[in-house]
């Protein structure tokens, strides 16, 4: 036996600690991992340790391999059964300790459980402590996965744009959002739990900028996360927040649709990499924080479309929440609000839409954007109410891919819905609508809506439910 005696002593000490003090089940695998030695070495070590087993009063599980009449046999046995097991073999290949533990094991599956966490951590490298090498395998590197992802994302974006041609301006928005959010979607699909991969996945820009983005992400998250909880006090802000969320739902990947989950995913991913101050800052300081965040946005002035979009919309949300407070009634349900918010972009005057696009497109204007203020947003919302013929529906689309596998994809589609669905809301809204002067767009739709709402009783609305539209 080579190897310095000192090392051996040290190893044995560690082993002793694990067994005696931590009361662990020490298998050769976990020992080789713990001490970074090969499996055979760690078995050697266990053997050495088990010589003093009687003295130490530990129980040992042996692994006996050998040949029987029928073939090769690999058996785990307790020390008491060792000779018995050996005698059953025609020829014994090896007899080595598998694990050492303080208490007598009654259930073999404990041995599996003992190594599970470690194995899970090592995963691909599990075999590297074994005595067999293999050079024939190459894994996809993170870069390759990223490439595949971006390729997928672009095709996804392309599909997306095809699908959403009908909804005019909203579509532009969603297209812009989709590359980013679909990326996280693919992350989910790959399911690579390692934070590293996700971090790489989101990295579209140069590495140097990565940290910046991280910061921004974390910055952006905070308000997103905290808003809902604040909203108990401030209902409006919540609804706006949600409508903002749903805006992103034009995307391909259902999971990543609502930005909330994806934000959470990012949140999970970021801690090791980004120097995020603290995730659970109390919500009490909500409004100050948002202000701070705005300031930061102005200071940073990074030309990041993502960020800018988020920040602008957030600012708008703030504005809206402030302005709308008085005009809202309690009876208004969430969907209705959602609607307004969506329509805000799809309708109103062309110029305004253009303006918004510009805001998103050219980040330099962002700092200046705050002014657009209550008035426009209010009118927008009014319009949204009056164009209720579309709603977002999560549709699953099934198709057959190149391999012949059937795939089902869920995506949000904006589709026309029957009048009756909105009857109730129409009647609710009419009071408000009549007071305000109605833009042109709305006039095309409203007559029908009004008519239907006037005429239709409960019964007819049920029929309407069955009618295809």
């Amino acid at each position: 036996m080579h190897g310095s005696e000192h090392d051996m002593d040290m190893y044995l000490c560690t082993l002793d600690e694990l067994v005696e003090d931590d009361k662990k089940i020490v298998t050769y695998k976990c020992l080789s991992q713990e001490l970074a030695i090969s499996a055979s070495k760690s078995k050697e070590l266990l053997k050495l340790y088990s010589k003093n087993a009687e003295k130490n009063n530990v129980s040992i599980i042996y692994c006996v391999t050998g040949r029987t009449k029928t073939g090769i046999r690999v058996v785990l046995v307790q020390d008491s059964q060792l000779e018995n097991a050996k005698s059953k073999m025609h020829k014994v290949f090896s007899c080595e300790p598998y694990s050492v533990q303080k208490s007598k094991l009654t259930d073999p599956s404990a041995l599996y459980a003992a190594d599970y966490e470690m194995t899970k951590k090592l995963l691909y490298k599990c075999g590297s402590y074994g005595s067999v090498r293999f050079n024939g395998s190459t894994a996809l590197t993170d870069d390759e996965i990223n490439q595949a992802r971006t390729a997928l994302a672009t095709t996804a974006a392309a599909n997306e744009s095809e699908n959403t041609i009908k909804h005019e301006t909203t579509q532009q928005k969603s297209k812009k959002i989709s590359p980013k959010s679909s990326k996280t979607g693919i992350n989910n699909m790959f399911g690579t739990s390692s934070s590293k991969v996700i971090a790489n996945g989101t990295k579209i820009v140069k590495p140097a900028e990565q940290v910046e983005i991280k910061k921004e992400q974390t910055k952006n998250e905070k308000p997103v996360q905290s808003k809902p909880s604040v909203s108990t006090t401030n209902k409006k802000s919540k609804s706006h927040m949600q409508s903002f969320m749903t805006k992103g739902k034009g995307d391909l990947f259902a999971e990543s649709k609502s930005s909330k989950p994806s934000a959470q995913i990012k949140k999970e991913a970021t801690p090791p990499l980004a120097e995020e101050p603290s995730l659970d800052i109390n919500d009490d300081f909500e409004s100050p924080k948002v202000k701070v965040e705005q300031e930061q946005n102005e200071i940073v002035k990074k030309p990041e479309p993502e960020k800018s979009k988020k920040s602008t919309s957030k600012q708008k949300i703030k504005k809206n929440s402030g302005s709308k407070k008085q005009s809202r009634t309690n009876s208004e349900e969430l969907p209705a609000k959602k609607r307004r918010r969506i329509q805000e972009f799809s309708s109103s005057s062309e110029d305004e839409a253009m303006e918004e696009e510009e805001e998103e497109g050219s980040p330099d204007i962002i700092p200046a954007s705050p002014p657009p203020l209550p008035k426009p947003s209010r009118s927008c919302i009014k319009v949204g109410e009056k164009n209720p013929r579309k709603r977002r529906v999560l549709k699953s689309k099934t198709f057959v891919d190149a391999d012949g596998s059937m795939l089902t994809e869920k995506e949000w589609v904006e589709e026309a819905c029957s009048d009756n669905d909105y009857d109730k809301r129409d009647s609710d809204d009419k009071k408000v609508a009549k007071q305000t002067d109605e833009p042109k767009v709305q006039k095309k739709v409203s007559p029908v809506a009004e008519k239907s709402s006037l005429k239709k009783s409960k019964q007819s609305s049920l029929m309407g439910f069955f009618s295809k539209k």
Binding site: M1, I72, F93, S94, T106, Y112, F134, T138, A402
Partner: protein, 449 residues
């Protein structure tokens, strides 16, 4: 300490997937099944005639069914059909006129009254004589020698299948032990799941368990074929269909956890050995044969090695490893033959399958299969060197030799949940041996204490 540790290197294998004919893409399911029988008999007829001439001499008279004359000795060729009273039939079940008593659940659907009928493309004739219904299967193409009796039956004197197909000789791998490891029926997610044993199997393949002799063996495992039913039948959870949606919408399908466990096991293996994962009866893929490869997106972590050392493959699966042709299924074909015949012997069944040159003769009659209409991919055109069937109750292997020097290893791969065994096949000389893992001392312990 370092001296007694020798590091072995695993050779990578040359692997070629030959299962293209088993992939069905964008084909409609609406067709009738008649075509597949037609195609089968058309393809097999010349082969069977050849076999008949080989067996009964070139002069044997081969008649179509319409040409038979009473009392004249001749040879007829056609597809066997076994009429079974007990064969479950949906028509019988729903028929109101026939008040069938509820049948006890059966594993076998044969009875003494089963009749054999031979069909060719024109007509059919019922068979008597030297042919037993218990040993034959619906869907096999045979040649029969005999006479038509007065009663209109055909009295069989002798019969023959097409015999072993021609074979490309196995490559000469002298001096190079090359093992392919077969394992099936891991049964992950079931009550009988042998988790520790699976882990032991993996450790063994990776060269962690055992001594240097073991390591030498494991270093020579160039390829692993997982032959179906990696997930347990319990994971299918048919109950879920009957429960109200709102009660279960939050619960995760049990396959999800099971498949991620499978992914976990595979991820340990694939960096060190190439693995083919076949679908099986209980695996999340389509049900009828041929089963599609499981989609790699179900294996997020082993997927990194996809197309490199990790492949999901169809069932049936045919491939060439280091020049050795391997063909096999996850066992549905064999199980089905067992249910509809008297034969228990896996090897005998495998052998008759290869003799009638068909992987799944009972498809589409009693075994679900895709309605092919131009081809019958289950016909074995070329004799493999290893013909296996997964998920059997016990390990069996036997070498079968053909008239033209063909040599094929017939292999019944045991289900891991039942035996904790895998099978090592040496490609060099086509020998097989079982490798058994045991870690169940609680019983022996209790019996002692």
């Amino acid at each position: 300490m370092e001296t007694d540790e020798t590091i072995h290197t695993r050779q990578s294998c040359e692997r070629e997937n030959l299962s293209k004919r088993f992939t069905v893409i964008n084909e409609p399911y609406e067709r009738q099944y008649a075509h597949i029988y037609f195609v089968r008999s058309e393809i097999m007829r010349p082969k069977v005639i050849q076999a008949a001439q080989r067996k009964w001499g070139d002069g044997v008279k081969i008649n179509k069914l319409s040409e038979i004359e009473e009392g004249e000795k001749c040879c007829i060729v056609g597809t066997l059909f076994k009429q079974m009273e007990l064969q479950p039939s949906i028509l019988k079940e729903i028929s109101e006129e026939v008040h069938v008593q509820i049948q006890p659940e059966r594993k076998r659907f044969i009875s003494d009254d089963d009749k054999l009928i031979l069909e060719d493309t024109m007509q059919r004739i019922s068979l008597t004589g030297n042919i037993s219904a218990g040993d034959c299967f619906t869907g096999t193409v045979v040649a029969l020698l005999g006479k038509e009796t007065k009663s209109g039956h055909f009295n069989v004197e002798d019969f023959t299948y097409a015999g072993l197909p021609s074979q490309i000789p196995a490559p000469d791998l002298v001096g190079n032990d090359n093992y392919v490891l077969f394992v099936s029926g891991l049964g992950i997610g079931g009550k009988k799941e042998k988790t520790l044993q699976i882990q032991m199997l993996i450790d063994y393949i990776l060269g962690m368990l055992g001594g240097s002799e073991d390591h030498e063996v494991s270093s020579k495992i160039v390829h692993v074929i997982v032959a179906g039913n990696s997930l347990a039948g319990e994971t299918l959870d048919k109950e879920a269909q009957t429960k109200a949606r709102y009660l279960t919408y939050k619960s995760e399908a049990s396959t999800v956890q099971a498949i991620s466990d499978l992914d976990f096991f595979l991820s340990q293996l694939v960096p060190f050995v190439s693995v083919d994962l076949m679908g099986g009866e209980f695996d999340p893929t389509n049900h009828v044969l041929p089963q599609k490869p499981m989609h790699p997106c179900m294996f997020p972590s082993s997927r990194r090695f996809y197309d490199n050392t990790f492949h999901t493959v169809s069932n049936p699966y045919e491939c060439k490893i280091n020049g050795v042709y391997i063909l096999g299924t996850s066992g549905q074909n064999l199980d089905n033959l067992k249910s509809y015949s008297n034969v228990d012997d896996d090897i005998k069944l495998l052998s008759s399958m290869i003799e009638c040159q068909h992987v799944a003769p009972t498809a589409p009659d009693t075994l679900g299969c895709f309605p092919f209409y131009k081809s019958d991919p289950f016909i074995i055109e070329q004799c493999p060197h290893v013909f296996f069937s997964g998920n059997q109750s016990k390990y069996f292997s036997s070498v079968k030799k053909g008239a033209e020097g063909q040599k094929v290893l017939l292999l019944a791969v045991p289900a891991f949940t039942q035996t904790c065994s895998a099978v090592l096949v040496n490609l060099k000389d086509l020998t097989a041996e079982e490798i058994n893992f045991e870690a169940d001392w609680s019983q022996s312990n209790s019996s002692v204490g």
